[in-house]
């Protein structure tokens, strides 16, 4: 596996798309978080605790989650390029098995998720250290980081899945970008509250919305009154299930396909 990841890294490290998107992500996430404190709407202004442990992790994760789609584009382009340039085919001709090709790519997806999560952790940690007087809570927001990891892995695996299954790159990217919207519309039209079991919704449900808590501290993260809501724990279980499905279906499709 180490060798396979090394091969993927050789292809990826010179990708301009990746560098540009990662820089945008790395700059925008802390910047937005920093600007959050200046928001004032009428009498309402942001409380100081948004930068303090344990809340700092949740806030960064929540802000960063808006960029999942963007970072997912790296995975999308990276994976679908292999099909577009027929290098997936060439890799197999040169001696990799289809299984190795798919799981090496998923390895990259996984490492990317780890990387992005570590960055979120780092930003949360730095803001927390700068603003907290009480450091005893330093580890207590880590579960939000864990949830962010699964969420990001979910979005990236979804991109990976789309890129593998839809052979036409431009169509795959467009569908991917609008997928959240499409899923939301389908959810509204047919499934209503059960739409939260849909994959993308599940991935986003993993991130607690800290602003809800700000408005009403009694609700646990994402509750909307009179509606059945899946908790973070169950969302994580479903998310892992979907991730496994996406990877296995990708493998199944590529294995059966003449590439």
């Amino acid at each position: 596996m180490k060798n396979l990841i090394a091969i993927e890294w050789m292809k990826l490290k010179r990708s301009v798309t990746m560098k540009v998107i990662l820089i945008i992500y790395a700059v925008t996430v802390p910047l937005l978080y920093f600007c959050l404190g200046f928001i004032e709407v009428g009498p309402f202004s942001m409380p100081d605790y948004i930068y303090e442990f344990p809340h700092s992790y949740n806030f960064v994760a929540y802000i960063a989650s808006y960029f999942n789609l963007l970072v997912g584009v790296i995975i999308m382009v990276f994976t679908s390029n292999e099909i577009k340039y027929r290098t997936l085919r060439q890799n197999v001709i040169d001696g990799l098995s289809k299984k190795e090709v798919i799981f090496a790519k998923f390895g990259v997806v996984f490492l990317f998720s780890v990387l992005v999560t570590l960055y979120v952790l780092l930003v949360g940690l730095i803001f927390g250290l700068l603003h907290s007087d009480d450091l005893s809570q330093i580890f207590s927001g880590f579960d939000q980081i864990g949830a962010y990891f699964i969420s990001v892995l979910g979005f990236f695996t979804f991109a990976f899945f789309f890129a593998n299954v839809i052979r036409l790159q431009i169509l795959a990217i467009l569908l991917y970008i609008f997928s959240t919207l499409i899923e939301g519309l389908i959810g509204l039209a047919v499934a209503r509250e059960y739409s939260q079991f849909f994959p993308l919704r599940t991935f986003s449900n993993l991130i607690r919305n800290p602003f809800f808590e700000m408005v009403d501290p009694t609700v646990d993260g994402q509750a909307i009154p009179d509606q059945f809501i899946l908790g973070q724990g169950w969302s994580a279980v479903f998310a892992v299930f979907y991730i496994a499905c996406f990877v296995l279906i990708s493998y199944w499709v590529i294995k059966r396909r003449d590439i």
């Binding site: 292809k11 040169d94 990799l96």
Partner: protein, 365 residues
């Protein structure tokens, strides 16, 4: 007789496969001492153990006719369309094996199945007597259809990826070597997307040579090259073939197959029409074709028809191609007609090309 001589002569007799009885028979006519050596395969193994060189040679002999590739009943259907129909043939070590057929005859599909990118509908194949394992392909350098590389990587970086997949470590020497062979050393740091079609093709051929693989599988290797490039690549393939590598090469260019291959399989509409050596494909060695032309063609024709050992191979208004015994020369033919009162205005010995054979085979089936 010294040991070095043994190894030398063993090499020379590689490929002979004589039984023990022949060996005994040969012992009695001991006028060619070096011929004996060739039969020292099994019976004298203990004796050969005394020299490590001899053991090596012995091993060489036993592996020489090893099958590199064996195909049994391979087929591929795309919905209702059968692209490849029940193909079977073997490729042995050191063969330069041509897959010959017009466009759409199933050459690339066949190679695609052999290289693990197209799933066979039925049938099986085996590389190196090792089945269809993925690792087999690391021992094969292959170019299928178009050159496939990462456009944003340089030539060198692209080859680095291939080398890593093939497990060539460290890759530098190997990459520099193949870039030199295909004449891209100067462009090694240019991105693949800046390459012309011919350069892309050269890079793809270079990639197949990485790590000096035992077998090359090449699909239309001279595609997109200029005449000089075509000549260079053919020269390269011939050289590699002579160095003892096994090559499987698909082409619709008959001339190419004729120039580089030792064996050929002819495909049409996914069916295997014939498999044989190039020599036997090119022509019956007992026959010579001679083209003659004269003013009075009807007379020429009637004379030829009277001679039992001659027959008419092809005819048009101005000339006949006569099939005649091998020993017939142009001057003999000239004299023959002169004696019959005919003055020829055209006379040439025709070597039947693979092109004609190919067209004949295609026509027949």
């Amino acid at each position: 007789m010294c040991v070095t001589n043994i190894t030398g002569s063993l090499q020379f007799y590689v490929g002979r496969n004589t039984g023990f009885d022949d060996f005994i028979a040969d012992l009695h006519q001991d006028d060619h001492p070096e011929r004996l050596i060739s039969h020292f395969k099994l019976p004298l193994v203990p004796f050969l153990f005394f020299s490590p060189f001899s053991i090596l040679s012995w091993l060489k002999i036993t592996t020489v006719a090893e099958k590199v590739l064996s195909i049994k009943g391979l087929s591929k259907n795309y919905n209702d369309f059968a692209a490849v129909k029940n193909i079977s043939f073997d490729v042995e070590q050191q063969m330069v094996f041509g897959l010959l057929g017009p466009n759409g005859s199933g050459k690339t599909t066949t190679l695609g199945m052999l290289m693990g990118v197209i799933r066979p509908s039925s049938g099986e194949f085996s590389w190196f007597n090792n089945g269809q394992k993925d690792e087999n392909r690391k021992r094969i350098g292959s170019l299928l259809e178009t050159p496939n590389f990462y456009p944003y990587l340089t030539a060198w970086q692209n080859l680095e990826v291939v080398a890593k997949i093939k497990g060539i470590d460290p890759p530098k020497e190997s990459i520099d070597r193949v870039l030199k062979i295909v004449g891209l050393t100067k462009r090694s740091d240019s991105k693949f997307k800046t390459f012309s079609l011919g350069m892309k093709q050269r890079l793809a051929i270079g990639a197949t040579l990485l790590g000096d693989p035992e077998v090359l599988v090449l699909d239309e290797p001279t595609n997109g090259l200029d005449p000089q490039g075509i000549a260079e690549i053919r020269e390269l393939i011939i050289r590699i073939g002579k160095s003892g590598k096994t090559i499987v090469i698909a082409s619709h260019i008959l001339d190419e197959i004729q120039k580089v291959c030792t064996h050929a399989a002819i495909l049409r509409d996914g069916k295997l029409l014939q498999v044989s050596t190039i020599d036997s494909l090119i022509g019956n060695q007992d026959v010579r074709l001679i083209k003659v032309g004269a003013e009075e063609m009807t007379k020429v024709k009637s004379i030829v028809e009277q001679i039992p050992s001659y027959s008419i191979y092809k005819e048009d208004d101005h000339a006949l191609i006569i099939r005649c015994p091998r020993e017939t020369t142009a001057s003999m033919m000239n004299k023959f007609f002169f004696d019959h009162g005919i003055v020829l205005n055209q006379l040439s010995v025709f070597s039947e090309s693979l092109e004609n054979q190919f067209l004949e085979i295609i026509k027949k089936s």
